[in-house]
Subunit: 295 residues, 2 copies
């Protein structure tokens, strides 16, 4: 035997009015079915909830306790549809956002700030992934938004350029190149020990540097995938490294950042990307909340 939400509404009304007739008016029904509702409810609960003679109605202690539970149930039951609608409209929900480690530090903060402001009921889950992992996770539906570097398959993904920045050469502050008064050119680096990007894990930077700064790679002494690791090696005097301008924000000590002569200015691109087919209603809202960041 169980009970219904209608019975709970009836019980709450009677408990508040302590009068079957007035409670029935409030519920827009007549008194007899309300009396039966309460009887049925008491039978279902297995306990007398209301003490009533022909003159007055009182809550029993059990009725008082049950009233609390009934109110909690009804409160949730009445709020739930509006909640579901907010989720459905994308005003509330979860966005899973992946980013590529240190290089996105600068813009990630602004992204989170604006999402928080525009969509306070949307919770952002953060994942650190390299671009390759992001593409797989977006396709699988494991994440909704990526902060990554090209190229992307335009069939599967939509993307917007968020940010371009310069490629700089990180050198130790005591290094003779720090004295250079002009942009670095490949010829300056023929004898330098190079800390280079992993071709697998940091393919974007690998390809970018190879195309921007044609030089022999015999001098590569470390192969690294994370910018922050490169900077620590430079800070320790182990060589020089190509890093995006935003690496400056990390604040590693004893490192100078030198301009490089590149065929195009600010060649390092950062994109926001998302799957063309997503069923997360919060995604379009998040994208338009971030549109002011896009170029």
């Amino acid at each position: 035997m169980t009970y219904s939400l209608e019975q709970l509404r009836g019980f709450v009304a009677v408990a508040e009015e302590l009068h079957f007739g007035r409670a029935a008016v409030r519920l827009r029904m007549t008194q007899p079915p309300l009396s039966r509702q309460i009887q049925k409810l008491e039978a279902a609960v297995g306990v007398q909830l209301l003490e009533r003679d022909n003159r007055r109605v009182r809550l029993t202690p059990a009725g008082y306790a049950f009233l609390n539970e009934a109110r909690r149930i009804l409160a949730i039951a009445e709020a739930a549809p509006a909640l579901a609608k907010r989720v459905s409209s994308g005003m509330r929900g979860v966005i899973k956002l992946a980013f590529t480690s240190a290089s996105t530090f600068g813009i990630l903060g602004r992204i989170l700030d604006h999402l928080d402001l525009d969509l306070p009921e949307v919770h952002i889950e953060l994942f650190e992934m390299v671009t390759r992992e992001q593409l797989d996770a977006l396709t699988a539906g494991d994440i909704d938004l990526g902060l990554a570097r090209p190229p992307f398959d335009p069939e599967l993904f939509e993307s917007r350029l968020l940010h371009r920045e310069a490629l700089l050469l990180a050198v130790h502050e005591d290094h003779p190149l720090s004295e250079l008064r002009r942009p670095v050119v490949p010829a300056d680096l023929t004898r330098e020990p190079l800390i280079f990007h992993s071709q697998q894990k940091a393919r974007y930077f690998y390809d970018l540097v190879v195309s921007m700064v044609p030089l022999a790679q015999e001098r590569v002494i470390h192969t690294v995938s994370q910018v922050i690791t490169m900077l620590w090696l430079v800070s320790g005097g182990r060589g020089v490294a190509f890093v995006p301008e935003s690496a400056r924000l990390i604040g590693i000590p004893h490192v100078n950042y030198l301009p490089i002569a590149t065929p195009i200015v600010d060649p390092v691109e950062l994109h926001l990307l998302w799957p063309r087919r997503s069923d997360n209603p919060a995604l379009p809202r998040a994208i338009s909340a971030l549109s002011f960041l896009m170029h």
Copy 2:
């Protein structure tokens, strides 16, 4: 338009099975009415909760959010009857317990400990009241149990003796009476400044001392209602006072407690009392949990 608990149960089953047929089996019904239940529920909520084609069933984001709410509702709805029954049986509830200030410190701790142990779901609310106030509050139903001193009207209240203790004379440790090697008698006090009980607020002690220690009251210099106040005055060398033995527990410095020759030993009584007519189901349980303390 609203929805029913049965619809929620149906929805939760389908959401968990992601299959109408299996969910229907679990609910011991056939598949067609379950399909209609879900349709009705979606109409009531105003949002599509399940994405379904003829091959597979999936939760929409809104459906996922609504599933959480549905589970919360059903969890409360299923637990509520058992809760109400525990309240009705007195295993769970609230006991409002009044006590008479400092003199009950010793036994109050033991009472609370044992109630906590025997009736962990019964919450004890404490009130500090003098005996007179306790009687009124018990009659009005504002409190359930009192810890007070006689007399009580046996028509209205049931009571049990919890504790008898000696009446002692509190004196400053430098006072000459401290050197006495026998019980104090009235004749010892003819010239002492007396800190005495208020006849209104501390009537029990007033009457008790007057009957136990017949003496002229010309020497009364302070009239006080609380034991602790008396002790501070004694500690400050302002006089001597009659206090119950448990006053020692308060630990006021520089006070000695001297035995008094009284017609009966341990004349100070402390009773547990409660109204004969109470509708608090936790009260009988509390009383029997405390029966081992009674004489």
